[in-house]
């Protein structure tokens, strides 16, 4: 049992290490701004943080189950993900950024949604955090691939735990991001409340998030599609 506890701690620690290493920095900044942007409503910040974590857990969990069961070889899966996911990440983020910046109207039907419906659509927006968690978890870079495929998976195989340890790794990778999102989102909320500018500040938080998404998207497209080394 003690030794399993060690495995549990190592899995969380490896996750935190992955998250604070330099290469996922760009996606982490995008995630922080996305989670923290609904600062007028702390409940929504909390929920999107939680959904982001669940998304990451689910992605690593599925990879963990596949690899511990030996259904696919580690090199094949690692190279497949590194070669393919990063390529599509850029365009996906740019498109998401276009919608966040409201350059294109979301109600394409033209006649506009009722106020109540619009509220619903915005609530669905927090599910974006879940999708973001999955995609960002799967976009491996050399360091995160080394820590996940080289350290976490051997650990999971050793304890025969394709379920718990990869999930804990997912929690570890999202902890620093969620913490920063809360700190930035909630402190901005406090300041803007003092100046009575909550609605305006939230609008700007959304726009800044949109700009960050477009910039990170451009960065990924230039590096992984146009192969320009930055």
């Amino acid at each position: 049992m003690d030794s399993f506890l060690l495995g549990v701690t190592s899995a969380i620690w490896l996750g935190i290490l992955t998250s604070i290493s330099p290469c996922p920095l760009a996606t982490n900044i995008a995630a922080i701004s996305y989670i923290g942007k609904r600062l007028a409503n702390p409940r929504l910040v909390f929920l999107s943080g939680l959904l982001y974590m669940l998304g990451r857990m689910l992605a690593y969990l599925i990879l963990g189950i596949i690899l511990v069961a030996g259904a696919l070889s580690i090199p094949k899966l690692s190279y497949f993900l590194q070669e393919n996911i990063n390529k599509y990440l850029g365009p996906i983020l740019i498109i998401a950024g276009i919608f966040l910046l409201e350059l294109l109207p979301l109600n394409i039907t033209g006649f506009g949604l009722s106020r109540r419906m619009q509220g619903h659509v915005e609530d669905y927006g927090i599910w974006g955090a879940f999708l973001l968690g999955i995609i960002f978890a799967l976009s491996f870079c050399p360091i995160s691939a080394a820590l996940f495929f080289g350290s976490l998976i051997p650990l999971s195989i050793k304890y025969d735990s394709g379920f718990i340890l990869p999930s804990l790794f997912g929690i570890g990778t999202s902890l620093p991001v969620i913490l920063f999102a809360f700190l930035i989102g909630l402190s901005t909320r406090l300041v803007s409340k003092v100046f009575n500018r909550l609605t305006q500040v939230e609008l700007w938080a959304r726009r800044i998030t949109g700009v960050i998404f477009v910039l990170v998207g451009l960065y990924y497209s230039l590096v992984y599609i146009f192969r320009i080394s930055l």
Binding site: I74, L103, I225
Partner: protein, 173 residues
């Protein structure tokens, strides 16, 4: 309003260019598959030529250790650092062995079609440093020095780790 339209147009054009670039790449991969067999034949010839050249300079040893650094076409800063530290560890610690041909330092790009086989051979999942022991021209043992990623922030420990591992493999010669 004008600004909005211009921004949208720029983004759409960028996305289209990305799609075209991705499409071309997919095409290229198909062609690569076809050319693979041809490349292999050429490569075999090159290897034969290379072998004969090597025997002129550094003596070709039947018993030796090879240190491989595997990387991709995209080079990240941490990956370059690992390569530089590994090379330094080997050149500093084993100048004599390198000269005698008892130790070889080889850098390989696994993104090139002719080098893909190394991914399966050494179970690679990222940029890696592998040391391999060859006896009578045949590999008998190899090790993935996976701790290089953990020791990246501690150069002294990194050099010592690589040198200790290489020495252990050489020592059994």
């Amino acid at each position: 309003m004008k600004l909005k339209a211009v921004t949208i147009t720029v983004f759409v054009m960028f996305l289209l260019a990305s799609a075209v670039c991705l499409g071309q790449e997919a095409n290229k991969q198909d062609i690569n598959q076809e050319e693979k067999i041809e490349t292999k034949e050429i490569l075999d010839t090159i290897t034969t030529v290379k072998d004969s050249i090597e025997t002129d300079g550094i003596p070709e040893q039947l018993h030796k250790v090879i240190a491989y650094y595997f990387h991709g076409s995209r080079r990240c800063s941490s990956c370059r650092k690992i390569e530089a530290y590994s090379q330094e560890a080997i050149e500093q610690g084993f100048a004599n062995e390198l000269e005698e041909g008892k130790l070889e330092w080889i850098v390989i790009n696994t993104d090139l079609p002719q080098n893909k086989r190394f991914i399966e051979d050494y179970q690679l999942y990222t940029k890696s440093l592998i040391i391999s022991k060859v006896e009578n021209g045949k590999q008998i043992e190899w090790k993935d020095l996976e701790k290089v990623w953990e020791l990246l922030r501690n150069k002294k420990a990194f050099l010592k780790y690589v040198q200790d591992e290489v020495r252990a493999l050489l020592g059994e010669n």
